[in-house]
Amino acid sequence: MARAVAVVGVGQTHHGRRMDVSYPDLVREAVVRVFEDTGLSPKDVDGVVSGTMPSMMEGVALTHLYFAEAMQAIGKPIFKTETCGSTGVSIAHTAFYWVASGMAEVVLAVGHEKMYEGDSQATMTTVLDPFYQRYFLAGAPGVFSMQSQLWATRYKLPQEKIRDAAAFISVTHHQSAFYNPYAHIKMKVTMEDVKNSRIIVYPIRLLDVCPNSDGACAVIFASEKAAKRLGRKVAWVKGVGYRGDEQFFGDSDKVVWQSAIEAAKQAYDQAGIKEPLKELDVAEVYNPFTYQEMMFYECFGFCEFGKAPDLVLRGTFSREGELPVCPSGGVLCTNPIGATGLIRVAEAAMQVTGRAGEHQVPGAKLALAHAMGGIDQFNGVMILGSEL
């Protein structure tokens, strides 16, 4: 790996319906907060990395131009990185590589989305070619329904068991969101509520699915020298990994899912992690769909393939379990897509520096952040740790 890089501070907006602010002001809210968090100011920043969903989401293209002021990027070098849902992790990677290469000491990464201003599902249809896949994959939940059915068939998992495990996950995350001041959906749900909620595409129900959220997240990456000057605990980037699958959904195996497995493997190798379930203290996994979340546990090596539902039901991934997943409430409760992956990184950083407030996992030292992009196509992982 190149030279050491740390996340020295984070800033998030209060995610949710934010028709109280214009889009630039939403972005500024997160940027102001990361400067407050770190005590740094715009003049300390050597470069800015920006990313968001395709321009159709809010109807403004190339938003890094629009937000030059809000991100305090005027007169600074800027990079734009967009990988659909995994944008947040991709901009974290870009900022990391920039500092790691030695070409910058302090880099600001900003991800954002204002989903209430557009039609997110209609926007997602444009992530597909107009001749073939757009007809069949346009309604996103259907894809995840098929993916989870492929998994259930392959490992002969009884529908009731997966249904219970998915509901358990939904209950866990909805509970966790109450302890996260920035989370969007704060709703008490029970297993019965989940299992009786409106069906979207079988077996996925309303409470198995993420919301549309407005929100922004800002994270500052810094070199060892710059980090040490701040005199506070920082989160060191221990490993990164990113992989993509073929463009056609039918061309790859989405159960033993190569892009997820290899992205995690590269990050683990760099971080020296051999037994993720034991060694990780927190996993901020990208989890807009409860069913798919379990498949990520398996691809990331938290358990064997086909075994995730059992571990879920035993509480392995709950707040007090062996590996708490998304103590922030996760994507299931908060999903401003362009920011979401970066929020995973921010939450992981907060956990290993003891700054996660009410949703702190006690003694957390090593955390995984992850995001997926496209229609089940890309996966990005970043490991953060409290020790250099």
Binding site: M19, M56, Q121, F131, F136, G142, M146, Q149, I200, G250
Partner: protein
Amino acid sequence: MAREYRTLKTEVRLPYEVAYGATWTRFFEGLKEKKIYGTRCKECNRVLVPARSFCPRCFVTADEWVEVKEEGTLVAWCYTNYRYFGMPIEPPFVTGLIRLDGTDVNFLHLVGGFDLSNFEEVTKTLKNGIRVKAVWSEERRGHILDISYFEPI
């Protein structure tokens, strides 16, 4: 709740004319003739459908054309019963991944040809692993929906 201010209702409508290129053109013309074309990669020997101009894994030009069987095995399916932007047909409908005989990748299309109004009943007919066969539309224009759907056989 925080105070909200004015909003602007606006729309972006943009026209496009998208090129098919040689491979897509031949594939879609094939649908007009009730043929489903795939291409075989010389290096990995996989048959890919829809026909490709290149093999995604070997990155070589895939120019051996194969007329693929219109029958196959249902690999995964999902039932949609709500309207949304870009839906292929009026709901309820079923989208499926189908492994057409003699091919090495899964083909996306609709599954139908029977009463889809009750989900419980649908699950009695549709199970992963059943055989399905293409049903062609009377009028074909070189469009993916020249195949109306695949029906269980």
